[in-house]
Symmetry: C2
Subunit: 252 residues, 2 copies
């Protein structure tokens, strides 16, 4: 069943309309007919099964027939802060981390980032990533579309720490020195709805200066197993571990 998001708030049995790109997708790409059913997620992240009532000239009329109660979202909110990686690796991070349940993304220029974002290009880059996140959210049957916010400096990233209940650094040196306790201890402390920020360096890792700043800010350094992970693989490890712990082991 196809999935779409709407910016409206929906109520059971009250008809609504979909226009724009999704109208085009439903009418032209999928060639939907009256009576077909789709999943719709509304602006309050409630999911419904809706029936197509009529395909108009510029909008599809639908009616929500059933509310989906089971949430596909992780019980904790995990935000991924990625030091800007090379090339199009951030596309892969956003796509896969959205599938794996990331709540939001904070890309930032790390000291060792080779890739730089010119100010005038930031808006376009974020829009591109937002589109990737939306498509991945639909594909993975999520009700929340992760937001993407560019932090223009490491200081701007650190200024946001107060918004979170926990802040971790995924640290290569912790993996090397066989650090295994921090991630498990953090997950075990977390309660449903709490917010965690996890920071990943770019290809060259976090710099000594960044490590010092994070130490001063009482950020915990966590190892992610015994192997050295690429910058685009580490966030996927983190989210899969969170899903395993919170959704399979604990089943909150």
């Amino acid at each position: 069943m196809q999935r779409y998001f709407t910016n409206e708030k929906l109520s059971l049995f009250e008809p609504f309309f979909i226009s724009g790109d999704d109208f085009h997708h439903m009418s032209r790409v999928m060639r939907m007919k009256s009576g077909e059913k789709v999943y719709i997620v509304d602006k309050e992240e409630n999911a419904f099964i809706a029936e197509v009532i009529e395909i108009g000239e510029s909008a599809v009329k639908l009616r929500p027939q059933e509310r989906i109660e089971k949430s596909p979202e992780l019980p904790v909110q995990i935000t991924i802060a990625s030091g800007l990686p090379k090339g199009d690796k951030l596309d892969l991070i956003v796509q896969k981390a959205t599938e794996l349940g990331a709540f939001s993304f904070l890309p930032f220029p790390a000291e060792r980032s080779i890739s730089k974002w010119e100010t005038k290009k930031v808006r376009k880059k974020i829009e591109r990533l937002e589109k990737i996140a939306k498509e991945a959210a639909e594909q993975s049957h999520r009700t929340h579309i992760p937001t993407i916010t560019f932090c223009e400096s490491f200081a701007a990233l650190m200024n946001r720490f107060a918004e979170f209940d926990y802040v971790l650094l995924a640290y290569e040196e912790s993996a090397r020195s066989n650090e295994t306790k921090t991630l498990v201890a953090t997950f075990e402390k977390m309660k449903p709805g709490e917010k965690l920020l996890v920071i990943f360096g770019p290809e060259g890792g976090v710099s000594d200066k960044e490590v010092t700043l994070l130490t001063q800010a009482n950020v915990l350094f966590a190892g992610l197993g015994s192997r050295i992970l690429r910058t685009e693989t580490a966030p996927l490890y983190f989210l899969a571990a969170a899903s395993y712990f919170f959704e399979l082991e604990k089943s909150f």
Copy 2:
């Protein structure tokens, strides 16, 4: 420090030679000089720090100076059986799953695989994947290079089940129906050194016929969290969950 694999068995302080592609990489690409140090993994998967003694015309002479005792390998052996996915997705699966600790790969033509491998092209495709696995193993500091073996049919895959202590199917319908216990229960039963095979369908999932055959073979069906994962994301989830459980929670 650069990492290389050798097909020889090494002993501490006994000089050895590296030729071929790795000689080229050391002498021409990295422009190494006498006295520099590299990681070397030998054919018995023992890791050493070795010193470059001399750069010759067609070989580098090295001497192992220190044995690395800590293993970067998962304490259990996880084999990934992937129903042939579209395009170059298997490249991504092999690269990332190698970083995340996969022991070996068994690609197979699933009933719903759109991609087909012509017999005459199998060898070339496997060689390409072996190269990706070797490079990912070096990059992630592993001592084991995962092997890749093509199963020419679903029956050929099933014929290998007896080689494993556990066989699981990562099943989308299990995720949908909120199945959370199988993966945790399996990991909790496993002892160091045991072998697990996990089967992933292609984009369209496993077919009804394949589900029936796997049910008859007593394969367990496991859900991987609350979201629908793409065929190339599910193996990464599985291995990250295994690392979290065996390396961080249990620290075998």
